[in-house]
Symmetry: C2
Subunit: 443 residues, 2 copies
């Protein structure tokens, strides 16, 4: 990086170009993202055309958009023409419709129609992830003929390692791996090599489901078909890895009460960051006033024994933390397909048993701590410990159950994480605490 | 699933076997995991040998261990012999050392030595992820000869799509994709097709770093070399997808104050679940007493104006939620390599500006809410709103900074998530709240 900047500064363009040519496209993309607009543009124009296209497809959508704002229309047209089909769609999706029109002005009618069709697939669907650059074979071919066909047409394909056998109407009849073709006798017919029980998806399939299928069956690519079972595209594993990370990011965000964002943190404006945080904070703030109302109804108790207020934060945190542990475990297990709604009773029973041990341990620890290190009456120590015990049982059972209930109600389990759960638990915990206090202290 | 159980019950073994033969190994594995021990063993023994091995390698380590407890030693030896090398290592790793010895008793010395070497690689390292089943080529071969070599030796290889060019001393000289071989002229030398600037890793590389490399360069496989650059194994993309999910699970767990566990939730015993939760809950409970101490030092203030206690939960939750948003965003961005320690000042500046807008919005909303819907003196409404404003600034700036500081100190940023952060923020928030109260109310 420093080297590159130095060469730019000293105008050693020949040396710079040589250096860039031996670098990996992904590394050059990373450097471009860190450079100033002017330098990035200059460096990009210095790249040999093939490399430039590869570098561009490794950049984040945001940086692609930023860089392409500096291009003239001819450059954009050239770039779009050279990009792989799926990268092309990803890029065009980020541009304003007017600009897309101008870029596609000179494209062939057929190409333009196809691109517009792809731009219309819903985000996060198979249609928007797939590419049309796959190898198709006919079942009458021999292994030898198939290899010849692949070597002639394979250059610009997204993958040649899984090939698709289609009939005259483009209906998908089978899938065959290049491995099976290579390992077969030269004269073996593709028909006898292909797998007929293959897994396929339709254009509307959600990306989360697709990722599940890849993980379960260890696939390198999956075919996408339309409602008449005609092959319309394929999705390859490298795009699925990005999808898996996207889905995980979405879960991390939701579980922290954030509106999920696809844009990188450093690329997000202050306003956009604010917009993703404020809604949940407002909702949670308003909801927290219910907890306030509970305390208010016990105001008399507090004014008599102000010491009770001392333990409010610890009790609240305890409930929040225990609930967050249970809900995170269950939410994550559901995301990985390990826990299903049908397991709800098993989860409740498991959480209940865990909470008995955890609750008892914490209650005893707390009782001893207050007894030994603080000088509160034993009644208060008892009240706090009993509340801890009940808190943990409530927190773990509710924390484990709510995400499953959300799933049953077709909501995203991730919203039942810490922020939402804490607010619910706070109210329960404080109500328990003050009720016990009132009873034991006869207030 | 129901069908299978029915056939088992009615002893329709022939029909059952036919049904199983057309199913995907991953689906059969899933069914086996849900069956009782006795039925699972029976079904497994019903499978044709090749399919049985594939099914077994799709099962989770826990279920593999459970099922294999029912096998006799001969069955285990047979199974281990047939498993792919990396699946073999994964399986043996889970078994007690005594049993491994008995299983390997009849293996050849060379094989046994190799297995023991692999069993000694640290968990989560390249050594423990890699397989030895790769295709090696010589640079003098022609494309035609390479394809012949692959078709002869490729059957039991983990992948044939990336091939490794080694010299007489097994030093790795280059990498060539099957695509480039297939697309080349028959007489082209491998030497001219191979990539010399390839990415390789050593056996001690951590799996998190390896996953980063796969994501960045869109690889299907990566070579693993020893310190003398001799090729010792390869890692393929399907194993990396599992690794990515494992790393994400670890982060989810850590961020919820859980000691990470590789075992699935439903497979974990109550005691093991307890052991993973209790340590952090205890630490956090003890730490929360500091917050209690702050309240205690203001006990007089509370006993005079008990109404102040009403707002404690809302203020604490606000701080916790805002801090959790910032820290989650930054932790996730660092995990994805988008934010680095060098960005710390940019992050602080960004969080500060976001927190000004968020804090002001929430403070105003809260001020109006209390003014319009509750009958507290305006002074209290003011105190609470000012505290909210300061809380949000503290929460977002500290929440965004702590994970980066953790990274700089070589700690895992994920521990600076909600539970830890909330405890820190609680103390700051309550101190702020009561100090302001004391000043404004002249207590």
């Amino acid at each position: 990086m420093k080297e590159i900047l130095k060469m730019l500064e000293h105008k050693e363009y020949k040396k710079l170009r040589q250096q860039l040519e031996i670098m990996k496209p992904a590394d050059i993309a990373e450097i471009l993202e860190d450079l100033s607009h002017k330098n990035a543009l200059f460096l990009f124009r210095l790249l040999p055309k093939d490399l430039a296209v590869e570098v561009f497809s490794h950049m984040s959508p945001y940086d692609q958009a930023k860089l392409s704002e500096l291009f003239n229309v001819e450059e954009l047209q050239q770039l779009v023409k050279e990009l792989n089909f799926d990268d092309k769609i990803d890029f065009l999706e980020e541009l304003p419709a007017q600009l897309v029109k101008r870029i596609l002005k000179n494209a062939q009618v057929q190409e333009r129609t196809l691109i517009n069709q792809f731009l219309n697939y819903p985000e996060y669907s198979a249609g928007s992830l797939m590419t049309i650059e796959f190898v198709d074979l006919k079942k009458e071919m021999t292994a030898q003929e198939a290899i010849e066909h692949i070597s002639k047409t394979g250059f610009k394909k997204e993958t040649i390692y899984t090939c698709y056998v289609i009939d005259a109407y483009r209906k998908l009849e089978g899938i065959v791996s290049l491995k099976n073709i290579i390992l077969a006798e030269e004269n073996e017919k593709i028909e006898n090599l292909m797998e007929r029980d293959f897994i396929s998806i339709t254009t509307t399939e959600d990306q989360e489901e697709i990722a599940e299928i890849f993980k379960k069956y260890d696939l390198l690519a999956i075919p996408v078909v339309d409602l008449e079972n005609r092959l319309v595209g394929i999705i390859t594993v490298d795009d699925i890895i990005d999808t898996i990370e996207e889905e995980n990011t979405e879960d991390f965000h939701k579980m922290a009460g954030l509106k999920p964002s696809k844009r990188e943190y450093m690329d997000s404006s202050v306003l956009s960051l604010t917009k993703h945080r404020l809604p949940w904070l407002m909702i949670l703030m308003i909801t927290a006033t219910f907890t306030g109302a509970i305390i208010k109804s016990f105001e008399e108790v507090i004014s008599k024994v102000a010491a009770l207020a001392v333990f409010i934060p610890m009790l609240m945190d305890n409930g929040g933390n225990a609930g967050s542990q249970s809900s995170t475990l269950v939410i994550r297990s559901m995301a990985l397909g390990e826990v299903a709604p049908k397991d709800i009773l098993k989860v409740i029973w498991k959480e209940f048993r865990v909470s008995l041990i955890v609750g008892l341990s914490l209650a005893i620890l707390n009782f001893l701590r207050i007894l030994l290190f603080e000088n509160y009456p034993i009644a208060i120590s008892l009240i706090v410990s009993v509340t801890i015990f009940i808190t943990i049982i409530l927190a773990e059972v509710i924390g484990g159950t709510l995400p499953i209930l959300a799933k049953i109600l077709k909501l995203d389990p991730a919203i039942m994480a810490s922020p939402m759960l804490s607010t619910i638990l706070d109210a329960l915990v404080l109500f328990t605490y003050f009720s016990i206090s009132k009873a034991i202290l006869h207030l």
